[in-house]
Amino acid sequence: MLDSHIIVNLVYLVAAVMFIFGLKMMAHPRTAVRGNLISSIAMLIAVVVTSYLIFADGGASWVGWLLIAVGLVIGSGIGIFLAVKVEMKQMPQLVALFNGLGGGASVFVAGAELLGLTDARATADVMLAIGISGLIGTVTFWGSLVAFGKLQEIEIFEKPLPIPAPQAFNAVLAVVLLILVAVMASTGMGWPFIFVFICATALGFTLVMPIGGADMPVVIALLNSYSGLAAAATGFVIDNNVLIISGSLVGASGIILTQIMCKAMNRSLINVLFGTMQAGGGTFGSDD
């Protein structure tokens, strides 16, 4: 009875528990380094056991294995290069960049799954998950890139947006996005995904562009929470527990961390997201 799927899911459970312990340990100075190590080992375990699952299912052609190998090598190379080369004071924008890539990965997984979807599997719940994954992932991707650009002090990201009423514009975008996702879920049609991507791209820009550079750490913490939620949504798309657990773990703890960081800066989250640019910190914060 112990087929490969059951074994793999049990190992996923081990990895998820290790993520929980790792994250908890990272919040304390004495255990932080070990916590990060445990979490990274959990990730390695998840990747290895997933490769085993693909192997046991005989699910990949040699082209598939080649793509997997190429992707892992290129990704590791870029990741190692950036992590080693970056200067201390550039670390926050590097985190923003990594976070954006994580969100983008969720979008592409959702897209790839959508392309391979048979009519029988295009049920309301799967289509809803694909839509949400695309929506949150895309906002995370572009929002994080804007945060990166602002911290890197690239000029285009420091100009105000040429939109008269940005908040009304965002509200309209949000409504359109919800309708598009609802259409995907209720009809099982895939084409609205393109428009989800386009509208969420615009939303990612218009949400983060008006926020001042000093508030960027809080924004990155919030976007980190979003990328977790995007991963959780992807977990619903491919029906995978380790994605659901780890994603929602990051999503929820990210919100808490965002609040903690706001408090430390004497700002309220509402103020950061909708308030004026860099109000000097603390003149009218802390009313939460």
Partner: protein, 97 residues
């Protein structure tokens, strides 16, 4: 009992909700010096979408889906490998002091 795909969905939603509660409870007091490393470390965890990227690339419904899968693997791997390494660098920086 009748086992349908909705049974599985309810199971997934249960897991989701419980994990959200764990996430809310897991972090309470964090010293300010650990804010950025914690953010960076939990960001690396959200790179778990690498698992989805591997699975959908292996599935590769057509060449475009495979291409998207490859991009997803690259992006998620940068997130994971870079994320853990830069977090480690930040933390070892604090420990020296």
């Amino acid at each position: 009992p009748k086992y349908t795909k909705w049974t599985a969905l309810v199971g997934s939603i249960t897991i989701f909700v419980l994990a959200v509660f764990v996430g809310f409870e897991i972090i309470t007091k964090v010293p300010p010096t650990l804010h950025t490393p914690l953010m960076s470390g939990s960001n690396a965890i959200s790179g778990i979408s690498i698992v989805g990227a591997l699975l959908s690339t292996a599935l590769g419904a057509n060449w475009f889906a495979s291409f998207l899968g490859l991009l997803a693997i690259i992006m998620a791997t940068v997130n994971v490998v870079g994320g853990y390494m830069v977090t480690h660098r930040m933390l070892s920086m604090f420990q020296k002091r």
